[in-house]
Symmetry: C2
Subunit: 346 residues, 2 copies
């Protein structure tokens, strides 16, 4: 394939948002597609992973990775195909997972491949969107957060917020496989029904069902209290769960989507002294720390996908240019399953 | 000694406080002193331990131990002497540590001794007030919180709030002995000077030195960040430290004295997402969990007291009836060293 005629449409961060991102935070650019240098590859984007963490990358200041710079292509992981290669490890037509950014093509130099996170994916193991979901970063986050930080034991009660999201799906299904009682928290009856009927959670609490619904739901569905809470949302729900933890409970802090678009300070958990009373632990997780064991988690969960013990659901929205609006589905809780932006058909 | 002529002065919880306790929360009563039944002992109070945790015991509701009931003698640990014994394990004149309550005498039945926490103390190991401080509950709290939850490694930076208090003294000195860099946080120049000059901390930040003093002090004295934070105070200081923790940091939640007299909700740590960014852990400790290892910590720290590597300071106030006012010294930060109420001379 000649790259000379290709146009790369891109979406760049134009300004840092205050509160919810708007169209004014983005600029749309086009570029030619660069030929790969010796050892490099050029990739075509098929689908991009949209994740709550993106909101944090748009902010200035120190975090677990540097922010996206103003004028830079917005950071995003995705799956795609090799369309040009000067590297013997990659053949044209190979499927890969990589840090594509919100754009249609990317050329990756050999010495950038590790930092980029580029690796070949095997479609016999999972579909491209499963490689963005259970087998991708969200899945790895859920797997290692639950297994390495949560340390689940059979019979324990595990609660996970964002239960219908990418991380939540993985956490809840893994916890069921490990013999736990699993209670999800999700927004809306449809998500809750799916989480229970399709994913096999023991119960799911609809946090949109009115004031006090989480508290009432925890009381009903966690009669022995909460041994592990995997928190993707923060805010009031974190406080509600803190009030119900058991002695020695583990709380995994994975995210706080309820707080990401705040224009005031983050709401700290006012029930944090429940950690003292219950000798409990609250601990943060960043998935990159487990990179040397991703392959083990992928192998384990691919097996569960194959034998039907695990399912995955992706919410696929088509069109690179929809990105600014599509991203907001995460913050409105509109996505049903792992949110994926389809950029090109295979 | 005949017990028949003794009068036991007591202070009882009369009403649950809202905010700072006042005289109206207490009642003063007198009782005869009961003879011990077979297997029991009668004890004379010498000194009582006044601790921030007392404020929590005055509230209604579930905590790590039941609240003090309205009309009950206020709960307090202390040291005293056996004045009557029908138990071969205790002789008249033996010194003991026990759950005396705020009163001059207590008679303990044999089957209550374990729950009461009654045990003989050896004055060759430590003075009576040291048995309430480094060798008592605060010392055990500091020792096991630091060693078992904090997991200090030589060269790490340890920050402890309430540094001149009973728990803080123990934590900081133990951390120094374990080879850590130790930075205290205390109120006032005199306490800070003592913590550095007498206890050998590397630095001490005076939180009363004006707005931003903790942030500035942490920046100056913790150039590599904070690896372990032992928190006795909560509030703004917890947030200031959260902003400076290192990757993999451990925060021990031992107390939150800044919040105990709130009439509004506890202030949750708004910087708690620093736990995520730094893969850090915040964990509660309750000292009772380590009861089967108290003797080991006492033996170790008694050695340090003997060889001069560890010092202890007690702030002794005389007179049972001063209790309602003396207790407030803790919440105003007026106590300098472990606060002890002397009830009787030996």
């Amino acid at each position: 394939m000649s790259l000379a005629n290709l146009v790369n449409h891109q979406i760049r961060l134009a300004a840092r948002p205050v509160g919810m991102p708007t169209a004014a935070n983005w600029s749309h650019t086009t570029e030619a597609v660069a030929e790969p240098a010796e050892g490099g590859v050029t990739l075509k984007t098929l689908a991009l992973s949209l994740d709550p963490a993106m909101r944090g990358w748009m902010n200035e200041g120190k975090s677990y990775i540097p922010p996206v710079g103003i004028g830079e292509v917005m950071r995003a992981g995705g799956v795609g195909k090799v369309i040009a290669s000067k590297n013997p490890a990659f053949a044209v037509g190979d499927y890969v997972s990589a840090g594509f950014g919100i754009q249609e093509y990317i050329t990756v130099a050999q010495d950038e491949m590790k930092r980029n996170g580029l690796f070949k994916i095997d479609l016999r193991v999972g579909t491209p969107t499963q490689w963005l979901n259970v087998l991708g970063m969200p899945g790895m986050t859920g797997y290692f957060g639950l297994m390495d930080v949560g340390l689940p034991k059979a019979g324990e009660t595990v609660v996970v917020s964002g239960a219908a999201g990418a991380v939540g799906q993985t956490v809840g299904q893994m916890a069921k496989i490990k013999g736990c009682r699993v209670v999800g928290i999700a927004g809306g009856a449809a998500k809750c029904e799916w989480v229970v009927k399709e994913l096999g959670f023991d119960a799911c609490i609809d946090y949109k069902a009115g004031a006090g619904s989480v508290r009432a739901g925890l009381k009903e569905h966690c009669p022995k209290g909460v041994d592990i809470y995997f928190d993707n949302v923060g805010g009031e729900i974190l406080d509600d769960v803190l009030a119900k933890i058991t002695r020695g409970a583990r709380i995994i802090i994975c995210g706080a989507i309820s707080q990401y678009n705040n224009t005031t300070a983050v709401q700290g958990p006012k029930n944090y002294l429940s950690l003292l009373v219950n000798r409990a632990r609250m601990e943060g997780i960043v998935v990159f720390d487990y990179a040397d064991r991703y392959h083990l988690a992928v192998a384990e969960m691919a097996g569960y996908l194959k034998d039907g013990r695990m399912k995955s659901k992706e919410d696929v929205v088509v069109g690179l240019n929809t990105f600014p609006d599509t991203l907001l589905k995460l913050f409105n809780g509109e996505n049903f399953g792992k949110l994926v932006l389809e950029v090109a058909k295979d």
